[in-house]
Symmetry: C2
């Protein structure tokens, strides 16, 4: 990640504009609007590099492909079972470490909520 290229700027910008974690293909599609020639390999290479330097965070949900978002203050995720979107939850139960047996050292944790988002609550037929 030594040089600044149109591809990298586009990929960064897509992720900065999003308020939720994106799939590699979502990043690809959005960034292609800016750089039509963009290849999927470049997207993956860039995402990997951004994760390596801890700019990006990976969000993995069961049965789904990994999503990516810019690392920001500690937060969790809400996955809507109707529209498939994943939202950030800016809250944390805290005291999580107490759940593990006393001999276990807890360094971090991850929490995912599943349910129906506000949108799908209002428009039951939409999304998906």
């Amino acid at each position: 990640m030594e040089r600044s290229t149109r591809q990298r700027s586009a990929i960064r910008q897509v992720l900065l504009d999003a308020d939720r974690p994106l799939l590699a293909t979502e990043v690809m599609d959005a960034a292609k609007l800016t750089v039509p020639s963009l290849g999927l390999a470049t997207v993956y290479r860039t995402l990997k590099a951004l994760v390596a330097q801890e700019d990006l965070q990976v969000v993995e949900l069961p049965g789904e492909n990994p999503r990516f978002e810019f690392a920001h203050s500690h937060h969790h995720h809400f996955s809507c079972q109707h529209c498939g979107r994943v939202y950030d939850i800016h809250a944390c139960p805290g005291n999580i470490a107490l759940l593990a047996p006393p001999e276990f050292v807890v360094e971090s944790h991850e929490l995912t909520l599943y349910g129906t988002c506000a949108d799908c609550q209002e428009h039951p037929a939409a999304g998906n």
Copy 2:
């Protein structure tokens, strides 16, 4: 899943004997001790069927292949960053639904702790 076969019994038994979620390949290796001719496709087909009928639960951790365990009372997981083992945690913070915005309906949740297990605490050089 209409018939009882040696392969299915072996696979079931392996998962019943384990006290932690297992990778498909771990199931394969262990079940092969009982049914040497066992093929990986059969393992996947059986796991899929057991998950479909909700006997098994899938445990997915970021960057790792899915693990499988018999569904039992609500619990969470602890992933040891040293030895890679995944443990069951029989505790839950509760009140999780309050973390989501009020318009969101929370139906379930999943929590994973990361850190060092008791074993790796004692034998820092082991595992991995």
